[in-house]
C-alpha cells in the first residue's frame, strides 16, 4: 500500500541519511522525497512516499519517531490531504507540433518556461495522476527531457457541514 509520510526534522548534516537508513535497512525503496527548511530555519520538513507492507511501515514509522533528530512523524494514509508535485518537461516542438504542444499545455494549465526553435519547456503542478496524464499525451510528440519533484502534501481542514434547518 502507498504511504505518504511527512517528517519534521532537525535541519542538519546527516539527518537525511539517518532517515533513509531506516528504509534501506529493511529493503524498502523511497519512491519520492522532498525536503526544505521550515519557517524556523533550524528545522526542515520532509515528505516521503513509499509503499509496502503495513506492518513493516508501522515499524519504520516508530523507528523514525525514535530518531533523535526527528521531531514529528505524520502518515497521511487514510487522511484527507492535498497532494502536489511539479514537473518540468522539454518537448520537441517543430513545425506542425508547435501549436499542438501549446494546445495541450493550455488544456492542462501548464506554463511555458523556455522556448527554442525546436522545443518547449513546460512547467506543470498537480497530483501524480494529472502529471502522468500529461506525460502520456506528450510522449508521442517526443519528450526530450523531463524531471519531477517529490510529492508535497498538506492536510485539509475538515469540511464542517452546516446542520440542516
Amino acid at each position: 500500500m502507498r504511504h505518504v509520510i511527512s517528517l519534521l526534522v532537525d535541519n542538519e548534516a546527516g539527518v537525511l541519511s539517518r532517515v533513509a537508513g531506516l528504509f534501506s535497512g529493511r529493503g524498502y525503496n523511497i519512491e519520492s522525497l522532498s525536503v526544505a527548511p521550515t519557517l524556523d530555519p533550524t528545522r526542515s520538513k520532509m515528505v516521503i512516499t513509499t509503499s509496502g507492507d503495513d506492518q513493516v511501515l508501522e515499524q519504520i514509522k516508530k523507528q523514525l519517531n525514535k530518531l533523535i533528530n526527528v521531531i514529528k512523524v505524520v502518515d497521511y494514509t487514510g487522511k484527507e490531504f492535498v497532494e502536489r508535485e511539479m514537473l518540468l518537461i522539454k518537448v520537441k516542438a517543430e513545425d506542425k507540433s508547435r501549436a499542438e504542444v501549446l494546445r495541450i499545455a493550455d488544456i492542462f494549465r501548464a506554463k511555458v518556461v523556455d522556448v527554442s526553435h525546436s522545443s518547449y519547456t513546460l512547467e506543470l503542478t498537480g497530483n501524480k495522476e494529472k502529471l502522468q496524464g500529461f506525460i502520456d499525451i506528450l510522449n508521442p510528440i517526443g519528450i526530450v527531457d523531463f524531471i519531477r519533484t517529490g510529492v508535497i502534501v498538506m492536510d485539509r481542514e475538515m469540511q464542517r457541514r452546516r446542520p440542516l434547518r
Binding site: 508501522e58 515499524q59 516508530k62 519517531n65 526527528v70 521531531i71
Partner: protein, 565 residues
C-alpha cells in the same frame, strides 16, 4: 569563565558526568587528549590491547555497575575497531559513550591518513552519534550524549572529535540541563492500560511472566519479585533477564526459548495470559512466531514503542518504564484482596501442571569419564559467592553458563545476547572488575571465543584485575559443530580447532597464572584454586569434545517442539 582547549574541556566534561574510568587506546588524532590525560589523577585511564576490548570493557563496566561506560580511541583503524563493540552494546541496550579521534576538519572527506567516516559507519548501530565541528558545541554535545545513552531505552552514543577541535580554545561551562526536542522517553505508563492489565491478570487461569533485560535497565527486579509473590504467577526469564528473578525461587521456570527449560517453553505455549516485561520477543525466544503463546492474551510492558507488536501482535501494550509501570500495577492489585486470593487458589492447578513439566524434563547431565561442562559450571556456581559477576563468551559455553549457574540477583550476568559476539566475555569481565575491584569476576569461555580477545590478558595483568577465566575447552567451535551435527549430517566443516595455544603457557607468558584440568575429580579443586589465587587466572578445562547443549528448539520451530537429549 573557564578558558581552555577542547582536549581539557573533554576531561572537564567527563568530571562533570562523574566518570571515574576510561578504557581506550591512543593514536595520532587523539595525542592532544592523551597529553591532558597524562596529568589527570581523578579519572583512571585503562590501556587495553585492542579497541574492541575497550568497548566491551566499557560495556561490562556499564552492565555490572549501571553507570555509563566510557571509551576513547583514535581515528581511522582505532575507530573502526570499536564497531563490533558498539553493535554489541546497541543490540543489548547498554549505555556507553565512545569518543573517537578524527582528522582535522579541513581534511575530512579528503581520504586523509587514518580517516574513517565513523559517524556514517556507526549510524545504524548507535542510539545517536555526533561529529563535533565547533568546539563551542562540545560541552552541550557531551551532556546530550550521556543523557541519551543512559535514559529511555539505553544504548551507545558515539562522539567524533576532530583534532583541530580538540586544540581550539573555548570558554568552558558545562550545561546544567539538557533539552533534546526530538527525544522524550515515556516513563509513566497509561493508567487505563495498566488497569486493564490488572483486570486481565486477575481473571487469568494460567498466567506466566516473561521478563527480559529491560527489567535490569530500569532496576525493577524488586518490583518484579513483588508482583510474582503477590499473584503467585510463575516467571520465566530471557537470557538478558537472567538474575532479575532468583533462579532458585519456587516460582522460577528458568530461561525460555531455544535453549530454555522444558517447563518454561511448555508454560508459555499453554499460558492464557503472557505478561512480557522489558523483553522484546526475540526470535531466539519465540521460535516460530505463529505458534508462540498461541492461547494467550499478550501483555507487553516496554519503554521502547518500536518493540511493541514488532514480532508478535500484542493485545495489551503499555509504553513506559518497567519499574514505574510495575509499581502502579502492584498498587492497583494490592487492594483487590478477594480477587487476588481467588487467583492464587485458581493457580494451584496451574502450578501442578508446571511441576509435572519440571519433573518430566529437568536440566540434567551425567558426569562420566571425561569432564562435563555442565559440571564445571555447577562447581563454579557452588563455590562462588552470590554477588559474583559471571561474563560469558558465545556458543555452548554461554548456554551452559545460562542454564547451570544459579543467578540470584540482577547485573551479575554479562553476556552478548543480541549480537552474539565471540570475544565479548573476557574484556567485559575486565570492565566489571574495574567497577568492582573486590568482587569475584569470572569469564566462562570457549576455546574459540577466548582467542578473539586473548590479548587483554596483558590489560588484566597490568592493572591487577583478578578475573578468573574458565575455558570449557572442547577443541571445537562447539555451537556451530552442534548445528552441523544436528542439521548438516555431521559434516564438521571447519569447526575443529585443530591448533590452539597451550593456554597455561600463554597465561604465564602474560604474567597470569594457569592450569590445565583433564580429570573430573580435579574440577572442584581447580575451581577452588582459581578463586583463591591472586591476580588473573586461566583454567583450561578439557571437556567432553562432542557434548551438546540441550534442550534445544531447532531454529524456526515452535518452542514446545524441543529436542530433549
Amino acid at each position: 569563565m573557564n578558558r581552555m582547549k577542547g582536549a581539557s574541556a573533554l576531561i572537564e566534561a567527563l568530571r562533570c558526568e562523574g566518570v571515574k574510568h576510561v578504557f581506550g587506546y591512543p593514536g595520532g588524532a587523539v595525542l592532544d587528549i592523551f597529553d591532558v590525560i597524562m596529568d589527570v589523577k581523578d579519572i583512571q585511564f585503562i590501556l587495553v590491547r585492542h579497541e574492541q576490548g575497550a568497548v566491551h570493557a566499557a560495556d561490562g563496566y556499564a552492565r555490572a555497575s549501571g553507570r555509563v561506560g566510557v571509551c576513547l580511541v583514535t581515528s581511522g583503524p582505532g575507530a573502526t575497531n570499536t564497531v563490533t563493540g558498539i553493535a554489541t552494546a546497541y543490540m543489548d541496550s547498554i549505555p556507553i559513550v565512545v569518543f573517537t579521534g578524527q582528522v582535522p576538519t579541513n581534511l575530512i572527506g579528503n581520504d586523509a591518513f587514518q580517516e574513517a567516516d565513523i559517524v556514517g559507519i556507526t549510524r545504524p548501530c548507535t542510539k545517536h552519534n555526533y561529529l563535533v565541528k565547533d568546539v563551542a558545541d562540545l560541552a552541550k554535545i557531551i551532556k546530550e550524549a550521556f543523557y541519551i545513552a543512559s535514559t529511555g531505552r539505553p544504548g551507545p552514543v558515539l562522539i567524533d572529535l576532530p583534532k583541530d577541535v580538540m586544540n581550539a580554545t573555548l570558554n568552558f561551562k558545562y550545561p546544567d540541563k539538557v533539552a533534546v526536542h526530538g527525544y522524550s522517553p515515556t516513563y509513566k505508563g497509561h493508567t487505563g492500560q495498566i488497569k486493564r492489565i490488572a483486570g486481565l491478570v486477575l481473571k487469568s487461569k494460567r498466567p506466566v511472566i516473561y521478563g527480559g533485560g529491560g527489567i535490569i535497565h530500569s532496576n525493577a527486579s524488586r518490583e518484579l519479585v513483588s508482583l510474582a509473590r503477590l499473584t503467585n504467577i510463575p516467571v520465566t526469564n530471557t537470557l538478558m533477564g537472567l538474575g532479575v528473578f532468583p533462579s532458585d525461587d519456587n516460582l522460577s521456570l528458568g530461561m525460555l526459548g531455544m535453549h530454555g527449560t522444558y517447563a518454561a517453553n511448555m508454560a508459555v505455549t499453554h499460558t492464557d495470559c503472557l505478561i512480557a516485561i522489558g523483553s522484546r520477543f526475540d526470535d531466539r525466544v519465540t521460535g516460530k512466531t505463529d505458534e508462540f503463546a498461541p492461547k494467550a492474551k499478550i501483555i507487553h510492558i516496554d519503554i521502547d514503542p518500536t518493540s511493541i507488536s514488532k514480532n508478535i501482535k500484542v493485545d495489551l501494550p503499555v509504553v513506559g518504564d518497567c519499574k514505574t509501570v510495575l509499581k502502579s500495577l502492584i498498587n492497583m492489585l494490592k487492594p483487590k484482596k478477594e480477587e487476588l486470593s481467588a487467583l492464587r487458589q485458581r493457580l494451584a492447578s496451574w502450578h501442578e501442571v508446571i511441576k509435572e513439566w519440571r519433573q518430566a524434563y529437568p536440566l540434567e547431565y551425567t558426569q562420566g569419564k571425561s569432564i562435563k561442562p555442565q559440571y564445571v559450571v555447577t562447581m563454579v556456581d557452588k563455590l562462588t559467592p552470590d554477588d559474583t559477576i559471571i561474563a560469558t563468551e558465545v556458543g555452548q559455553n554461554q548456554m551452559w553458563a545460562a542454564q547451570y549457574y544459579k543467578f540470584k540477583m540482577p547485573k551479575i550476568f554479562l553476556t552478548s545476547g543480541g549480537l552474539g559476539t565471540m570475544g565479548y566475555g573476557f574484556p567485559a569481565a575486565i570492565g566489571a572488575q574495574v567497577a568492582f575491584p573486590s568482587r569475584t569476576v569470572v569469564d566462562i569461555a570457549g576455546d574459540g571465543s577466548i582467542q578473539m580477545n586473548i590479548q587483554e590478558l596483558a590489560t588484566a595483568v597490568q592493572y591487577n584485575l583478578p578475573v578468573k577465566v574458565i575455558i570449557l575447552n572442547n577443541g571445537y567451535l562447539g555451537m556451530v559443530r552442534q548445528w552441523q551435527g544436528l542439521f548438516y549430517k555431521k559434516r564438521y566443516s571447519h569447526t575443529s580447532l585443530a591448533v590452539s595455544p597451550d593456554f597455561v603457557k600463554l597465561a604465564e607468558s602474560y604474567g597470569a597464572s594457569g592450569i590445565k584440568v583433564e580429570e573430573p575429580s580435579d574440577v572442584e579443586g581447580a575451581v577452588r584454586w582459581a578463586l583463591n589465587t591472586n591476580g588473573p587466572v586461566l583454567v583450561d578445562f578439557r571437556i567432553e569434545p562432542e557434548e551438546d547443549v540441550y534442550p534445544m528448539v531447532p531454529a524456526g520451530a515452535p518452542i514446545n517442539n524441543m529436542l530433549l537429549i
